[in-house]
């Protein structure tokens, strides 16, 4: 501590005052405050819900004393502030309670289901990036052309389409009529549980196992939902790429490069594109976070056993522990990705320091 105080007056260098350390502490502080806020919101939601948690455990016919015992066992007789701190304590230890539906700890359920969501969102993001970035760059370079107009329409349609409906239509056309892809679920039933689960992601697991039959079957199942999620991410990424590129293309250094006689391809990809990379990475991180959320409805349509379908199923059967636990985990991932993109921005963009 003395070093820090000294630093205020004497400007002596200390590891605690370097910008990176201060930034780390600030970031950590903001993560903690945000997570406390998330926990507070879920706590309030859990309190105001109209379902009596005691009744759902002991049943309608329970005697008064059984009811009171369960009431006390749940800690509901304690002051609300105490209840909140107990809740925070539990959440910090990864204890979200037991799911009424599966009768297992919510944490175990979430850990088991998370890889499926991650697999889907990752593949979707990969598709969105590989198609969306070139689309955005070309639209910016050919601003006002027919290509730009088409890119604009493609993005607007993506913004406007209800994702669950697009999923249904995709299933109808590519599975029902054309039969090109596998149906709902992660693999066909006779391929299920063949490869040992290492990462929980079937594509990776089957590759590790060298079982290519399972891999291609899993691929035929994931390709449609991933494409649909990828389209959403494409819509967002292509618009953002276009606007970043337009900003760069009107800068003076681009004119200089052109005057020097550099080929247009070098000007676009070597100069302008290189300068939007940092912004682009933050956008991709954000769109990845959005896909994790967007997968809620997609997972329902495709019977995908991920976190989204877990939360929704729990919701429909009033399994509040599972709902709130799932919400906190999705929120946590969301916050971490946001902060990650923010950090990247600061680390790689010298102007932001």
């Amino acid at each position: 501590m003395a070093v820090v105080e000294n630093n205020g007056k004497g400007r002596r260098w200390s590891p605690l005052s370097s910008p990176a350390v201060i930034l780390t502490f600030k970031t950590l502080g903001s993560i903690i405050v945000t997570m406390l806020g998330l926990a507070f919101i879920t706590f309030v939601i859990g309190r105001v819900m109209p379902i009596d948690p005691v009744l759902s455990i002991v049943g309608e016919q329970a005697s008064k004393s059984t009811y009171d015992d369960a009431y006390a066992a749940l800690g509901l007789d304690k002051p609300i502030i105490v209840q909140f701190f107990i809740y925070i304590w539990d959440v910090m230890h990864g204890d979200f309670g037991t799911s009424l539906l599966t009768a297992r700890p919510v944490v175990d359920d979430l850990i088991r289901r998370f890889p499926a969501t991650l697999e889907l969102a990752t593949l979707g993001t990969i598709m969105g990036v590989t198609l969306g970035v070139p689309l955005g760059v070309l639209a910016a370079v050919n601003k006002g052309s027919w290509f730009d107009q088409i890119a604009r329409v493609v993005a607007l349609v993506g913004y406007s389409m209800p994702i669950f409906w697009l999923g249904l239509m995709g299933l109808l056309v590519f599975y029902g009529i054309l039969g090109w892809v596998g149906g709902p679920g992660r693999v066909d039933i006779f391929y299920a549980d063949i490869v040992p689960s290492v990462t929980g992601m079937i594509l990776l697991d089957s590759m590790l196992d060298g079982n290519w039959d399972v891999f291609w079957n899993a691929m035929s199942h994931i390709i449609l939902p991933a494409t649909i999620l990828g389209y959403y991410s494409l819509a967002y990424i292509s618009r953002m790429t276009r606007s970043f590129m337009l900003e760069q293309m009107s800068a003076e250094y681009i004119t200089t490069a052109r005057v020097k006689g550099l080929p247009e391809r070098t000007v676009i990809w070597g100069h302008a594109f290189k300068n939007i990379l940092v912004q682009l990475i933050t956008v991709i991180a954000l769109s990845y976070a959005n896909l994790l959320e967007g997968s809620v409805l997609t997972e329902i349509i495709f019977s995908w056993p991920g976190i989204g379908s877990y939360i929704t199923t729990a919701l429909l059967s009033a399994d509040m522990n599972a709902v709130l636990g799932g919400t906190i985990v999705v929120g946590l991932v969301f916050v971490l990705l946001n902060i990650f993109s923010d950090l990247l921005y600061r680390v790689f963009d010298p102007r932001a320091k």
């Binding site: 109209p50 607007l156 209800p162 029902g176 994790l292 929120g331 916050v335």
Partner: protein
């Protein structure tokens, strides 16, 4: 000479003048030139047309709908598109799909209007108070805003509806609760730039209090950026409401809400595809309309952003 000129001056000239004669004149002139810019944007006009059509459909639903949207006819269930008397076919209970889509526009409009009123007003209040007061109030309010922003919106809305119970009003409430933070951010940013300008200092010297400055001088300047954001957000609101309806958490049956209709049609998707397709097209069209109009409005009202997007 002067006389004839004055007589020849049409309403159009009056609106396009460079030298407005009164404050109201200037305001009308600005609105008119904005309208002209918007009118030249074909896509925005298509969007506006779609929304006017939606308004028309909702207003005259009883006259436009060929049948009662709730009357079941089990003998004529799952009739295909173009069937006798049912242009868009019927659903699993034999209800006319066209009539249900037309009546569904009322529910969509109801949800959109309520959210478009609640969320920006809450955001405006929080944002301007935080921005104008500054200090600890600002820090606390913005921290709360950030927490709400950090939450994935659909998941948060799901959790709220779970707590409040299913239904349209609760869906509206849940969506509004997740939609206000961006407005607060915008309103605060605008307030911060306005707060220290000279004319605010002048009004202060004339003795205006904080209330008057916020309501009379800051709010009007926040409105245009909020309107753009609201229009662009409405597509998302429609999609969220439809998503909640699809999950059975929004409007309850037999209400002809479009999302709930898709959910009904989902069971028959492979054999009777139109039951889910028709309401989905309706959702898509309306949210596309909002997106097209919002894009155009941004060019008109918010030239800073319009330049590069």
């Amino acid at each position: 000479m002067m006389e004839t000129n004055m007589q020849k001056q049409t309403l159009r000239d009056w609106l396009l003048t460079d030298t407005p004669t009164s404050r109201r004149h200037a305001r009308y002139a600005a609105a008119y030139s904005g309208w002209l810019t918007l009118k030249s944007n074909t896509m925005a006009m298509v969007g506006l047309g779609i929304l006017l059509l939606l308004l028309f459909m909702a207003a005259f639903a009883p006259l436009l709908a060929p049948m009662d949207p709730f009357v079941q006819n089990l003998g004529g269930r799952l009739q295909p598109i173009g069937a006798d008397g049912h242009i868009l076919g019927t659903d699993s209970l034999g209800r006319d799909l066209l009539s249900r889509v037309i009546y569904g526009s009322r529910i969509t409009l109801y949800i959109v209007t309520l959210v478009a009123l609640i969320a920006p007003i809450v955001g405006l209040l929080v944002g301007t108070v935080a921005g104008y007061t500054g200090g600890i109030v600002d820090a606390v309010l913005m921290r709360i805003t950030d927490i709400f922003l950090a939450f994935p919106r659909l998941v948060l809305a799901l959790a709220f509806v779970a707590a409040l119970g299913a239904g349209i009003e609760n869906a509206v409430l849940a969506i509004s609760l997740t939609a206000w933070p961006p407005y607060a951010r915008i309103a605060r940013a605008e307030t911060l730039t306005i707060r220290n300008s000279d004319y605010i200092a002048a009004v202060k010297l004339q003795g205006a209090g904080a209330m008057r400055i916020i309501t009379k001088h800051i709010w009007p300047l926040c409105i245009s950026s909020l309107i753009v954001r609201v229009t662009l957000d409405m597509a998302g609101v429609i999609l969220a409401a439809a998503g909640l309806g699809f999950l059975g958490l929004g409007a309850q049956p037999p209400s002809p809400e479009w999302g709930a209709m898709i959910s009904e049609g989902r069971k028959f998707i492979l054999d009777h595809w139109w039951v889910a397709t028709v309401p989905g097209l309706a959702i898509f069209t309306v949210s596309l309309g909002f997106n097209l109009l919002g894009d155009g409005l941004r060019d008109v009202l918010d030239p800073k952003e319009g330049g590069h997007s």
